[in-house]
Amino acid sequence: MAKGALRQLLPSRSGKLTTGLVIVIGITLFAIIAPFFTQNPRSSQNPAMLPPGADHLLGTTSLGYDVFAQLAEGARSSLLVGVTAGAIAIVLSIIFGIVAGYVGGWTDAGLRLVTNIMLVIPAIPLQIVVASYLQKRSLVLVAVILGVLGWAGGAVVLRSMALSLRTRDYVSAAKVAGEKTWRIILVEIMPNLLPLLAAQFLFAVILAILNEAGLSYLGLGPNNSITWGTILNDAQGGSALTRGAWWWFVPPGVLIALFGCGMSLINFAIDEIINPKLRSAPQAAKRVRKAGGDVVVNAEQEPEKVNA
């Protein structure tokens, strides 16, 4: 791929992208580095229910755990589950989306039916049922449950793009040249879907982190692990709400929301590459308004003047 083409595929620098990257990289660094400096998140030596202070940045829980330490450890596990599940989901989306869209025929019909069925069966209830049968749940197993049951949305998007790519000249040329199907998919089609794949991956990671938090909040997350969801589950069990311990249940949710928001902002930037109209149309509207000056602005406010 030429250098110019690569640059076109990369998101243009914008406020959204910068904010998103800062948030995502910041939380990721927090997850990697912070656990080395905090006290043991499983140590209950501290006084219980301390509000935030110098010794305990975010206070302690009803059992004397340090909330900040739990948050750091939780960040590590939550992100790990999210990225693993996201990776599994994106591979399945590729199989069910791109392969179906490119190969067509009965393969497409079969894969599409499975995709549509998975799409309409609500994910969380299914994950609750499956998780409840698996009594011993490691982090990886939870990630597998989330990934295997959460790829359908991405597959639908990828399939429609693959459908539009399969009739392009360069794909036909590769086919005529005798290239194998898997090579055409990997070498000719996938690179052109790269921005879309990246967007779907980020989306899958957010979804997995949200769903993991939900499962853990219900006590169906990984056993013996601390994640943002298990902290919320503990907070509910320790009646943090009625005892006014906001420092216990507010931070995990804020981190989940911030991380999701950061990922979505990056997705915004990617979206503007995939769909140039989103970028060009607001700019065009701005130009028209500037060129028209007062006349157009007035016309927007007072419809009568247009007819006059």
Binding site: L113, V129, Y133, T242, F259, V306
Partner: protein
């Protein structure tokens, strides 16, 4: 007419798949729900052969009958509305428990989703119309709303509105101290609305961002279409261009996306019900999971799936009626 036939066929296949999945999950996954259920039923008294057969058909047989025979029997029981017996609330049938919980969840999610849809589409259309202005700058912040876990937002609302300020009740679907059960009176309706406000607000706040963003993006794309430029050039009033030309066309993909969004809303609300101890399907299912009440859990899962399928099916038909293009190309 082929459009409707194709949709009916798709939903029939999906229905079959969902029911079969429900049949297979307890059989394929590890764990022994049958012995757990039978042991717990035994504590409530002697088990009749019919009851044992029911548990085996619903959760997995061991030996004397073939799986295919169980499968047929399973379908037969479903048609008779027999979903087994709950062990936690022995001897209430699962179907009765679900019947009591279903209206709460359907009412809550239905009303909140319609409110969120109307607000989101309205704001989204307006934001798209105002493209290239300061409005663009606040659009990205809606992603924060979308990334909020439902149940966490619910915890926050309970903490603020119920615990700290005492404006709304903390838990339940109605005032259990004043009413013995659901009744037909204005006082009861008022109590239900008061109790549903915070759960409803949670759903609206978390789901409105998605509608807003989708609608805004579609609106921006529609407004750059040639027919909109033509309409403006003809000198039509902006209000008419906005309503008849742009919004009407831009709203269609949002209706299509309704299905996927509904899955998210249902998933989120079910977990949220635990925060409010709302007497709906979510709480029923979560209680069942906590108590290893497998029949109740499987039954709730089945009914949730069927309810979502029914809602999607209706939406599909409505869309086929509204938008002729789906009938021809769908």
């Amino acid at each position: 007419m082929t459009f409707f036939l194709r949709r009916i066929a798709f939903y029939a296949v999906t229905l079959w798949a969902a029911v079969s999945l429900n049949f297979l999950i307890p059989r394929l996954l590890p764990g022994d729900p049958v012995s757990i259920m039978l042991a717990r039923l035994q504590r409530n008294g002697t088990i009749s052969p019919a009851m044992e057969r029911s548990v085996r058909v619903l959760l997995g047989s061991s030996g004397d009958t073939s799986m295919f025979q169980d499968y047929l029997d399973y379908w037969g029981r479903l048609f008779r509305g027999d979903l087994g017996v709950s062990v936690t609330r022995f001897p209430t049938p699962v179907a009765d428990l679900i019947g009591g919980a279903l209206p709460w969840t359907v009412g809550l999610i239905g009303v909140s989703t319609v409110i969120a849809f109307v607000i989101g589409i309205g704001l989204g259309a307006w934001a798209g119309w105002k493209r290239g202005t300061w409005v663009d700058a606040i659009i990205p912040s809606t992603t924060l709303l979308q990334s909020l876990p439902y149940f966490w937002l619910a915890l926050l609302f309970v903490f603020l509105f119920a615990v700290s300020w005492g404006i709304f009740p903390i838990i339940g679907g109605y005032d259990v101290f004043n009413f013995n059960g659901p009744e037909l009176s204005w006082a009861f309706v008022g109590s239900v609305i008061r109790h549903a406000t915070l759960p409803g607000l949670t759903i609206v706040v978390s789901s409105v961002g998605g509608w807003l963003l989708g609608m805004r993006n579609m609106m921006v794309a529609t407004l750059s279409e040639d027919y909109v430029t033509t309409a403006e050039a003809k000198g039509l009033r902006p209000r008419r261009v906005f309503m008849t030309y742009a919004t009407r066309n831009a709203v269609i993909p949002s209706l299509t996306g309704f299905g996927v969004s509904l899955g998210f809303v249902v998933s989120g609300s079910l977990i949220m019900e635990r925060v409010f101890s709302y007497p709906g399907l979510g709480k029923l299912m979560i209680d069942a999971v906590g108590n290893n009440d497998y029949s109740l859990m499987q039954g709730t899962f089945l009914i949730i799936t069927l309810a979502v399928l029914a809602a999607l099916f209706i939406m599909d038909l409505v869309q086929g009626l509204i938008d002729p293009r789906t009938r021809h190309h769908g």
